[in-house]
Assembly symmetry: C2
Homo-oligomer: 218 residues x 2
DNA sequence: TCAAAAGTGTTAATAGTACACCCATGA
DNA sequence: TCATGGGTGTACTATTAACACTTTTGA
């Protein structure tokens, strides 16, 4: 299937690599897998796949996310293209990074096992295949810029959450500790975080107020 | 030249489109050209080209910039990948956007003429080929975020410049007017903008102090 | 009764915004 | 002498940062 245009230019494999963030046990986590094929079979890597004919790169990213987590229709943010000639030791592959934030409750664990995927702490990411560590770092910096002005945490938390959970999450994204009083005041100014009538009794004896994100009007 | 890996996946044309900003006549300008080939021959478009074998995408961007402006080694910022299936009416092309800021004084005008390129006002960009207008808008938003915290204007101005020139440039990037006194105070806090002993007598009768960027220590 | 997490205010410093007049000069 | 662009300061507001104690309750 040739074409009258552009024939004289080379073509390349184009892949999408997904930086999938979750929040478990009080820390931001990254989903990684054992690479199922060569080159680098068995090495830890981001989950990824190749762009198919007739599929936009955004669609590729969604397809990969769904395949590995069972989750459909989550907002994914493009991180940029990575196009060093030798970045893949097998053959030249130009890759587009995307990151996603997902709620581990929506997560299909059987797919994780099937794909030899696992969650690792964001502050303890192992050496990954190719330039994937660089992509993870860029994604995290990207998140850090947004965390205060965007309701990105909505995708990482359960529907109802305590302010301590939200604070712990933000601290884990930023890698710094926050002052509890200043944090709670800043939350009070955000219209998209609202108090509910519910109290969480699981994580403390006294009980903590549950909040939720209210995003309809944004 | 096949390979033992990845054979079953499709390959794509990958191009780089460059959003080249300049500063002339008190406004931010964009370099555009008449598309020299079909599809869309004669339409206005960004300047671009295809990624070659053995060339990283950053290198492609530099090569295109040099070809169209004569300028080598300018910082180019990647804007992201654009991968809608039908974005190019000829054949599927995945493109990576890069923007660059250049000083029109370094500019080789003969190359512009040769390539049927021209500068257009950023606030009056004509309809461009494919999704190029979208790329320009994204690049401008990207610039706007940086203009206050990064010395990006260094590349758009001559070595010595007046504060009025710098203010006019920032206003043109931001699309808003700035208060002269507030602007000048904020400049005074930036270590990378320093007063020189020179006075410009060309643009005013009284003469205006010339400043320069001091970037060695960043 | 005590350990553990929840909850709550004030002050100081910094950054940002609004605003109007005089100066020096060449034509 | 006057038109043109250059240059200057102050007061108000908003945002951010620092900081420590009391409450509730189940074990």
């Amino acid at each position: 299937m040739s074409n009258q245009f552009y024939n004289e230019y080379p073509k390349f494999l184009v892949s999408v690599d997904c930086i999938i963030f979750g929040f478990k046990e009080g820390t931001l986590k990254l989903l990684v897998q054992k690479r199922p094929y060569n080159p680098g079979k068995g090495e830890m890597s981001l989950i990824g796949g190749f762009v198919e004919e007739g599929e936009s790169i955004d669609e590729t990213a969604q397809r990969i996310l769904t395949k590995f987590t069972g989750i459909g229709k989550v907002y994914m943010q493009q991180l940029g293209a990575f196009g060093e000639v030798e970045r893949d030791p097998g053959e030249r592959v130009i890759t587009i990074g995307y990151y996603a934030l997902i709620n581990s409750a929506d997560f299909d664990e059987s797919l994780t096992r099937e794909n030899e995927a696992q969650w690792v702490d964001i502050d303890n990411v192992p050496k990954l295949f190719s330039d994937h560590n660089k992509m993870v770092e860029k994604a995290r910096r990207n998140l850090q810029k947004k965390v205060n002005s965007n309701p990105i945490c909505v995708n990482l938390l359960p529907k109802y959450f305590t302010l301590t959970q939200l604070q712990t999450l933000q601290e884990s994204i930023l890698g710094v500790e926050l002052d509890k009083r200043n944090f709670r005041r800043s939350v009070a100014f955000k219209d998209y975080i609202v108090k509910t009538k519910y109290i969480d009794k699981e994580n403390s004896k006294r009980g903590a107020r549950l909040y939720k994100f209210q995003l309809e009007d944004i």
